[in-house]
Symmetry: C2
Subunit: 136 residues, 2 copies
DNA sequence: TGATTATATTCAATTATATGCATATACTAA
DNA sequence: TTAGTATATGCATATAATTGAATATAATCA
């Protein structure tokens, strides 16, 4: 966990956007790519970079891979972690991403929803007017 | 002063080496390039990147340009600044650089010495056996 | 087993970064 | 003004990073 490598990993907007989500809790790749609207391969690659530098870890649960912040990273880089969280609060894009994450969570979407009809979930996340949704 | 740009600027070993020196006090370009043994153009460009991201500032004094840590940066990024200083203590290369800086300072070298005979100063900095030096 | 699906990886193209050399610019001093 | 010097910058090049599309891999389920 070289701190220069950590800076390299953090010096990219897409990876900061991913981290911004993971701070709120673990997520699998298909959730991240949907909320952030990035391609699957791109999400996977950025996740790998964050993982290689020790910032996040992954755990395979059946066919899905869940990513989360590495507790070890938080312990060993606490000042940096607090700094990032503070600075994230000021960024418009990151606030918008959190709104989309909230919508996704409040909509009770799951990986299965994404499998069955990703574009419907995506449409729902884009809708500005309605923040509630019927179950199912 | 976007924090992602700051991370980009910090994600390079040469720039961290420069910063490591500047934490000990201001220095001009010719001093930095000598202590770190990098080309003049390379030192200048890295300094510019650090300056553009708001981490350092410069002041022209007669023909020399002195660089120092930007106080504003320290104030607005205090957690990050403390983090960097802590992590720097663990890096071998950075400790070696500080030894060379100390030798340079204790040798009472100036920019004029570098102008007159840079290679002599350089040889002195490389010498492991002798940490003292006659005046002049 | 075979079809489907989630994630990772390869390939190719594009873009960004780092660097040395040569030169431009800005300043000093004779 | 001219010569000399410190720093910045343009140019060319090498290396690294980013990305989408296609494919490989690993797991699930019928």
């Amino acid at each position: 966990m070289d701190f220069i490598e950590i800076f390299k990993a953090l010096g990219d907007e897409n990876r900061i956007r991913i981290l911004n989500l993971l701070i709120r809790g673990e997520l699998c790749v298909c959730e991240i790519e949907t909320v952030l609207d990035m391609t699957q391969s791109n999400a996977s690659r950025h996740l790998n970079k964050l993982k290689t530098s020790g910032i996040i870890t992954s755990e395979k649960k059946s066919q899905w891979v869940y990513y989360r912040i590495n507790n070890n990273f938080i312990e060993e880089n606490n000042l940096l972690y607090e700094y990032i969280k503070n600075k994230m609060d000021e960024k418009t894009q990151l606030k918008r991403d959190i709104e989309r994450l909230k919508k996704f969570k409040e909509g009770n979407f799951t990986c299965e929803h994404l499998r069955n009809d990703k574009s419907q979930v995506f449409k729902y996340l884009q809708c500005q007017c309605d923040n509630t949704r019927n179950e199912n």
